[in-house]
């Protein structure tokens, strides 16, 4: 079968497909259906220094051909994660990306600093989409300036490659990505969810407020990947509505080195294994030796 491996941050991954942060629990849950080592890399749920309880239910909402979520970053905290969940990935020989966040610059920095380098940790992914309490709750990732400063300060405190994960709710995502890279980001993940609202007609109220994910995001994410990958020299990881192997290949062609899949797994828990098989088939049919040859193909 075709070789799907790709290189990222000087490591070789089995394949370019990761889960999106927060869409594959703590890694063990999916193993009732398939082994976590199916993934090119596992991306953790958003982790923080201290545990977070998250929001009251409902936390998920169907919205047309997509969904809204407001999980509220529930997580067990770094300490419990490493004690209880991290060993699985070593056992499965599966590289992981640690997605993390904070509600103040200091929380971000301490969080990153407290993560000890480990051969299985290929990168930290900083979630810049969450409210900064010290800045009146507006999110980090919206101003190039604040993105630059947080990334720069985090980089000073960790030797682990740092991926900046950006929100699409910005005026110019290329500018934000460039700020992140010039501050030292080693990679960019595009995109996080897009804030949306759903109205309950019967109840005459806002039924739900949360982040939009799934197929409706795809053209927005492809644009971010196409534009940013042209503008920066670091690897771009694409996410947003990826549902099948054709979507994966489209994101690679748009300039992504790797992709993340979230919502699709909720609809079909075998979406990821299926898309990997599909990508392999595509490579065989097109006599492709390496996936790298597809990356950015659409730029030409």
């Amino acid at each position: 079968m075709a070789n799907l491996s790709i290189d990222l941050f000087k490591k070789t991954l089995r394949n370019p497909v990761m889960n999106g942060s927060g869409t594959m629990g703590y890694g063990r849950e999916i193993e009732s259906l398939w082994s976590i080592d199916t993934l090119g890399a596992y991306v953790t749920k958003g982790l923080s220094l201290k545990p977070h309880h998250g929001n009251p239910p409902p936390r998920v909402w169907e919205e047309g051909q997509g969904m809204l979520n407001s999980i509220g970053l529930q997580n067990v905290g770094l300490e419990r994660f490493f004690a209880e969940y991290f060993p699985l990935f070593k056992k499965r020989n599966t590289p992981i990306v640690i997605n993390f966040f904070g509600f103040t610059d200091e929380e971000y920095i301490e969080c990153a600093a407290s993560i000890r380098p480990d051969p299985f940790i290929i990168a930290l992914e900083i979630n810049l989409s969450c409210p900064n309490v010290t800045k009146g709750g507006i999110c980090m990732g919206k101003e190039a300036q604040s993105v630059f400063s947080i990334i720069e300060r985090v980089k000073r405190r960790t030797p682990i490659p740092l991926i900046a994960k950006l929100t699409p709710e910005v005026a110019d995502i290329v500018q934000i990505a460039q700020a992140a890279v010039s501050a030292g980001a080693d990679g960019i993940t595009l995109i996080n969810t897009m804030p949306g609202v759903s109205i309950d007609l019967a109840a005459k109220r806002v039924a739900f407020r949360g982040g939009l994910s799934g197929p409706p995001l795809k053209p927005i994410a492809l644009k971010a990947v196409a534009d940013v990958s042209r503008a920066v020299h670091v690897p771009v990881i694409g996410a947003g509505g990826i549902t099948d192997h054709e979507d994966v290949i489209q994101f690679l062609m748009a300039g992504a080195q790797a992709v993340q899949v979230g919502t699709a797994t909720f609809i079909d828990p075998f979406a990821i294994p299926k898309m990997l098989a599909g990508v392999a088939r595509y490579m065989d049919e097109h006599g492709l030796a390496r996936l790298e040859s597809l990356v950015g193909a659409a730029h030409a």
Binding site: G22, T23, M24, G25, E29, I30, S32, L33, K45, P51, H53, G54, P56, P57, P58, R59, V60, W61, E62, E63, G64, Q65, G66, M67, N69, I71, Q74, V76, G214, T263, T265, F266, I267, D268, P269, F270
Partner: protein
């Protein structure tokens, strides 16, 4: 646990907006613990999420659900013809734990019977079932009476005791036998009343709760129920639940 293709063999309207759907599976389903559920891909392009349904009954290659039409997904399911193909993920979640040495008391309100029926079937003689619905039209939801005559009540008094199932339970809890252990499924308000009735003697009780779900697999943390565990209050209804100890959740 698998994600299996299935074919709708029966999709019958039992009464009012209640339906029973029997699905034949392409491969055998794992053993089911009463209270477990499936995530069903409703056969309609308009419905994005799968929908969770308790396993009402099952055989080697069949699973049966009992459902009420409350919105677009269940309405779409109700209009699905026989022979329609669906995907069935399950059995999922933490079901009822039956404790020896107690008298099992089953309490079902309305469509809640869907989550209790399998337990009732498996407990046989020992179990005594309290079933409450709004009118006699809904009594057939019980299906064929398996053994011990259930105690029935209706809100309009058209059948059995007149009132809700918790009032019925309260009126006869003393008569059900030694060391009652309650297993309940029904609408939210029912649980609050239930708690009131069981509080004094602190009678042990497990309840099956419903939360909106996206994945049903523990991946998204979308389906949480608040518990009294202050270290980690929000537990996933699809993994740690849907059956919780009544005394450990906050209503």
């Amino acid at each position: 646990m698998h994600d299996t293709e299935g074919i709708i063999r029966e999709n019958l309207r039992l009464c009012r907006d209640f339906y029973r759907c029997k699905i034949e599976l392409a491969r055998p389903i794992d053993e089911v613990i009463p209270g477990q559920f499936i995530m069903l891909k409703v056969p309609s392009a308009e419905i994005f999420f799968r929908r969770p349904f308790s396993i009402y009954d099952y055989g080697k290659r069949t699973v049966t659900i009992l459902y009420k039409t409350v919105g677009k997904g269940t309405r779409a399911l109700a209009s699905a013809p026989r022979k329609e193909r669906v995907m069935v993920l399950g059995p999922l979640g933490h079901g009822f734990e039956v404790h020896r040495g107690y008298t099992p008391v089953l309490v079902a309100g309305g469509i809640g019977i869907a989550g209790i029926h399998l337990l009732w079937k498996q407990l046989e003689k020992k179990a005594c079932l309290f079933y409450g619905c709004s009118t006699e039209k809904e009594v057939p939801l019980l299906g064929e009476v398996i053994h011990q005559e259930p105690r029935i009540c209706t809100l309009d008094g058209s059948a059995g005791f007149c009132g809700n199932v918790i009032q019925l339970l309260e009126s006869s809890l003393s008569l059900v036998g030694e060391k009652p252990y309650v297993y309940a499924c029904g609408p939210q308000p029912m649980f609050a009343n239930l708690k009131g009735v069981l509080a004094e003697k602190r009678i042990p009780c497990q309840v099956l709760v419903e939360e909106r779900m996206a994945c049903g697999l523990g991946l998204c943390f979308g389906c949480v129920k608040k518990t009294l565990d202050d270290r980690e209050p929000y537990k996933r209804a699809c993994v740690e639940g849907p059956v919780f100890d009544l005394w450990q959740i906050s209503l």
